[in-house]
């Protein structure tokens, strides 16, 4: 956790609460992310990790709490949400590519329509990012015809085209079959090595171990424990964490 000394947190969450009907999914989350940090959020299904991630860019509106991103509170009604979202990239479990656009247009739509970039510049940026994720042969392909792994790489490139300051990954490999999980994780690994600030909700423990600076374990709507991968995987403090990890670390 060397990265947090002397630097201001890029994202700071305070007292975040969220209920769906009578079900309380987040029960007071306090959480900070520093520039360049890669944080993996792990935990059982239903522990609230995806909801936490979706609250960060307010796709899910929290009931209570504050979310400061680069000094601005997203929960403040006077905050320009769209302007902040431009700088918070997000990658979804189900890819969510725009089905009415080809690969390139998926990547240029937001830069042109939101940031107002000239089309040519947006295309060049998009092609650069698509090449970086290994899809230079698919620039004009119909996005519906791609494989899951290709779709997810397009989704990553699309988010990167907005030149975000942080990237949120919501179980990016959970909808992929095991053989192609690797191609997406490789892209994410390179992104992490390039210094991108990332929050990754994942079940890929090997990835969390290898790539993250910090691992957060969520259970039942709270952050139960967090620390470096060595601490959390090597010597978890909580019994619940040990129980959860034992199921993954058996194999």
């Amino acid at each position: 956790m060397t990265k947090q000394t002397n630097t201001e947190a890029i994202l700071r969450i305070e007292g975040l609460e969220k209920s769906f009907g009578s079900l309380k999914v987040l029960k007071g989350i306090d959480f900070e992310v520093y520039p360049g940090e890669v944080v993996c959020v792990i935990g059982a299904s239903g522990s609230g990790k995806s909801t936490l991630l979706r609250c960060i860019n307010l796709l899910e509106e929290p009931d209570e709490g504050h979310i400061w991103f680069e000094g601005k509170d997203l929960m403040d009604l006077s905050t320009d949400l769209e302007e902040l979202r431009e700088r918070i990239g997000m990658v979804f479990q189900s890819f969510n590519l725009f089905n009415n656009k080809n690969v390139l247009d998926n990547c240029t739509l937001a830069p042109v329509s939101v940031k107002g970039l000239p089309r040519q510049e947006a295309r060049e940026t998009a092609i650069r990012h698509l090449e970086a994720v290994g899809l230079s042969d698919f620039i004009h392909a119909d996005s519906r015809r791609l494989s899951g792994g290709q779709k997810q790489r397009v989704a990553i490139a699309r988010a990167l085209c907005m030149d975000p300051d942080i990237m949120l990954f919501d179980e990016p490999t959970s909808a992929l079959d095991p053989e192609i999980v690797g191609e997406v994780l490789d892209v994410m690994k390179r992104l992490a090595e390039g210094g991108m600030t990332m929050i990754v909700v994942t079940h890929e423990m090997a990835f969390a171990k290898e790539v993250s600076d910090r691992v957060v374990f969520m259970d039942n709507g709270v952050i139960l424990e967090q620390g470096t991968p060595e601490e959390l995987f090597g010597n978890p403090r909580e019994a619940r964490t040990r129980e959860f990890l034992s199921r993954y670390l058996e194999d």
Partner: protein
């Protein structure tokens, strides 16, 4: 299995061929009857002869009727589509973050209006709508002090019929569009918003183009329905195919053959339209729906 299907296809094709051949021979055998009917000076007594006689002598009326029916269905559906887009946007407004009380109230009013409009229009027969609409419009223009002749010029049977179909179809098409919007996976909307796109841009650039594409078969169906259902406009005197048919029946004092003519013309119009719709849907890569029942 494959061979079986192959065989059943061949049998079907053979049957179709026989049917077409029989139909062709039948039509061919009618040529003398047709010639006789065209040359006749009074309505022949046999069914086919009478049918041809009235078709030939009433051709200008039928032509005028077909033209009106097609124009009303085409223009009516087009106008309805534009209005339906507006109505659908009212309908799908949801309370947004940081909306002022005024905006919230306006959104609720808009949504309420759209719901009531759709419920009323879909819950009443178009024939009743046509009559109410025509007489209400007539009364309205009269109340401005115009003479009956002046009103009839502006508020013609044709115009009120066209507007009836437009307003009627608006309700159905707005439900079609709403279904189309709901059929677009909400994840795409989330992705757009996560990229900083506003609700409005998300709708305009991502959701709506897909919704319209998904709706193309249903919009085509609505056009075909309008070809048929515009027949009720004859009650207000709109000179459509149905009105023309009734006129011809009145002139020659014979009903059954004329209505058979009308049925065949309507069938040709709808089959032809559904063929065109299929081609358009195929071109647009949208799934074509089968010929619809009346709504």
């Amino acid at each position: 299995m494959r061979a079986k299907r192959h065989l059943s296809n061949r049998i079907r094709n053979l049957l179709l061929l026989v049917c077409f051949a029989a139909g062709g021979i039948w039509l061919f055998s009618l040529i003398p009857t047709f010639r006789r009917a065209v040359a006749a000076t009074s309505n022949p007594t046999d069914f086919m002869g009478s049918l041809f006689y009235m078709l030939w002598n009433g051709r200008t009326l039928f032509g005028k009727g077909v033209k009106t029916t097609v124009i009303i269905a085409l223009v009516g559906t087009a106008v309805a589509f534009v209005l339906a887009v507006l109505l659908t946007f009212l309908r799908i407004q949801t309370p947004g973050r940081g909306d002022s009380p005024l905006v919230l109230t306006l959104k609720q009013l808009g949504c309420g209006f759209a719901r009531i409009y759709v419920a009323v229009v879909r819950g009443t027969p178009m024939m009743v709508q046509a009559l109410i609409f025509y007489y209400a419009g007539f009364g309205l223009f009269r109340s401005t002090g115009m003479s009956i002749a002046e009103v009839s010029k502006i508020w013609s049977f044709f115009l009120s019929g066209l507007l009836t179909v437009s307003f009627n179809s608006t309700a159905y098409l707005s439900e079609v569009l709403r279904g189309g919007i709901e059929s677009v996976d909400p994840g795409q909307g989330e992705a757009a918003r996560s990229l900083g796109m506003s609700t409005w841009k998300t709708m305009l650039l991502v959701i709506f183009p897909q919704a319209v594409k998904n709706s193309i078969p249903a919009i085509g169906n609505e056009f075909i329905i309008n070809i048929k259902d515009s027949s009720v406009l004859s009650v207000i005197g709109c000179y459509d195919l149905m009105f023309a048919t009734t006129s011809v029946a009145g002139i020659y004092y014979k009903a059954l053959p004329v209505y058979c003519i009308a049925a065949v013309i309507y069938l040709i119009l709808t089959l032809f339209s559904s063929l065109i719709m299929k081609l358009i849907a195929k071109r647009m890569d949208a799934v074509a729906a089968p010929l619809p029942s009346s709504n």
